[in-house]
């Protein structure tokens, strides 16, 4: 045959171009089409589509029907990979520009690259309310900021913002949206009105409430911030950051975002999921129930910390110091009272903990540093990792340490302390140092136990 081996183009590049074109057009013409979220969630489907198209082409291939010029096996080609990468880079760029635009509205970006954000003020007449009024403030897309102060009114100022290509279109979309204060059986309900289903118009609400008001804040998408409230506070934020300062006590439910609580005069209760959590200065206790993927920090929690997640269970009965927990790390400094921690795959460091200590870990080193001779019992059990305990030289204790297939090393020695190692390589340390010391029980497998004298 004199024919060139010209390959017929695969269906895939056509399909993916059309698909991306449609998605981008939807994104531009329906303001609520979250481009980046969709790709973040659905990109694996693209691989599947790619594979299926290739598979179908391969199975339906007939040399005769494909035309004389077609070369036989069609595989994934370099040009297609470039196309996919290029389209992803395109989406990334568009999403990046829109992110910058949203987070830095003053940034100068040429209009050709994306819609602009238009903002309009909403006037809401203040409403006199009882000092201990129950106030609910909710919005679905926007920020809520509340300040409690010495006032007898519920004052609300709001802003509506809409992304559009020109002022005319923006006004048309935003015109029906308003914010109302509604009196309900239980109290006062502040919320936007007239939003269309797609919630293209975001509504930010800023409110001033009496100091002793009981506040409920609900938000689907946006940040929540409150300060100074002395009544009860309940926050339910699906997506966005929460910042609470100076409150009586707070109950937070969230799904995604960071949480910061400072200066609580009561308990801080947190449930749900999210990224970072930072709680500082609570006169009550802190309870956290859920999975937070970032760093959990707690500092000066008078009535202790209780953390429950899929991967860890921690109780600290009083925390004058601070603790920090992240993916592979757990650190606790200066805690009085009892500490119990059960987790796995974390390197654990505890320093200056006085009180009863019980730690259960797996696949992560445990390090305990005592600045004072221990007074209460210490139990550590670990697997596949080591345990290091550092004690002041004048400590008294009664120890029993076992390392299955591991070494034991001790700076402490004496007639009453016996270190043995059997033929299978298991080490055992048992005995007493000083008198009337607490019990220290250490147990691990495939890791060494080290007992150090401080200084």
């Amino acid at each position: 045959m004199s024919n060139g081996r010209r390959r017929s183009p695969s269906l895939f590049s056509g399909i993916i171009l059309v698909l991306f074109g449609v998605i981008l057009l939807l994104h531009y013409f329906r303001g609520d089409f979250p481009l980046w979220d969709i790709f973040w969630r659905w990109w694996p489907a693209l691989l599947i589509l790619w594979g299926v198209v290739k598979l179908v082409e391969r199975m339906t291939y007939r040399p005769a029907a494909a035309g004389a010029g077609a070369a036989a096996p069609r595989t994934v080609r370099g040009s297609e990979i470039l196309l996919v990468l290029g389209l992803f880079a395109l989406i990334g760029t568009i999403a990046g520009i829109e992110w910058v635009r949203r987070h830095a509205p003053d940034a100068e970006i040429p209009g050709i690259l994306g819609a602009n954000s238009y903002t309009y003020d909403i006037e809401v007449a203040p409403r006199p309310v009882p000092p201990n009024a129950q106030v609910t403030i909710r919005t679905t897309n926007g920020d809520i900021t509340v300040r409690a102060e010495n006032t007898t009114q519920l004052q609300v100022t709001a802003k509506k913002s809409v992304r559009a290509w020109d002022d005319k279109e923006a006004q048309r979309a935003a015109a029906p949206v308003n914010v109302v204060i509604e009196q309900t059986a239980g109290g006062f309900d502040v919320h936007p009105e007239g939003q269309s289903d797609n919630e293209r118009v975001g509504v930010d609400i800023e409110a001033r409430v009496p100091l002793l008001a009981s506040l409920t804040l609900r938000n689907d998408h946006g940040d929540v911030k409150t300060t100074g409230l002395m009544g009860s506070l309940h926050v339910n934020n699906q997506r966005g950051d929460v910042e609470i300062s100076d409150c009586a006590g707070v109950n937070v439910e969230m799904n995604r975002g960071d949480l910061k609580v400072s200066d609580a005069k009561g308990d801080v209760k947190i449930t749900g999921n999210g990224d970072d959590v930072d709680v500082a200065n609570a006169a009550g206790g802190m309870t956290l129930n859920g999975d937070f993927s970032g760093t959990i920090r707690a500092e000066k929690i008078a009535k202790g910390v209780h953390l429950v997640s899929q991967r860890a269970d921690l109780t600290v009965s009083r925390l004058p110091g601070h603790l920090e927990s992240e993916l592979g790390d757990f650190k606790l400094y200066d805690a009085t009272g009892n500490v119990s921690l059960r987790t796995s795959s974390k390197d654990i460091t505890l320093e200056n903990v006085t009180g009863k200590l019980a730690i259960e870990n797996r696949a992560g080193n445990v390090e305990l540093r005592f600045l004072q001779p221990p007074k209460d019992d210490i139990t550590v059990s670990n697997e596949s990792s080591g345990i290091t305990v550092t004690l002041p030289a004048n400590s008294s204790f009664e120890i029993q340490a076992d390392s299955h297939s591991g070494e034991i090393e001790s700076d402490f020695s004496g007639d009453a302390l016996k270190l043995t190692k059997d033929a299978q390589g298991n080490s055992h340390l048992e005995g007493k140092v000083g008198t009337h010391g607490p019990k220290i029980t250490l147990k691990t497998t495939y890791g060494s136990i080290v007992l150090r004298k401080a200084g």
């Binding site: 024919n3 059309v18 991306f20 074109g21 690259l113």
Partner: protein, 70 residues
């Protein structure tokens, strides 16, 4: 590839339409932008992706019979 202009097979004919079609699309989109403010090019450009994709689809489904590489 100089051979493409000479080859008369269906696939190569469709393929040779790609360039002009993109030019025409861009022209039309900019023109629409001039008259209708809300349909600016900054917003309608993904149509170009659609056009390229559509031509590629037609190209891949059309027959390469009689393809002639000189």
């Amino acid at each position: 590839m100089a051979d493409e202009t000479k080859c008369q097979c269906q696939r190569c004919t469709v393929r040779s339409l790609m360039g002009p079609a993109i030019l025409i699309t861009i022209g039309v989109l900019f023109l629409i932008g001039q008259f209708y403010g809300e349909f600016g090019f900054g917003r309608t450009w993904p149509v170009i992706l659609l056009v390229i994709g559509a031509i590629k689809l037609i190209e891949s489904t059309s027959s390469g019979e009689g393809h002639n590489k000189q």
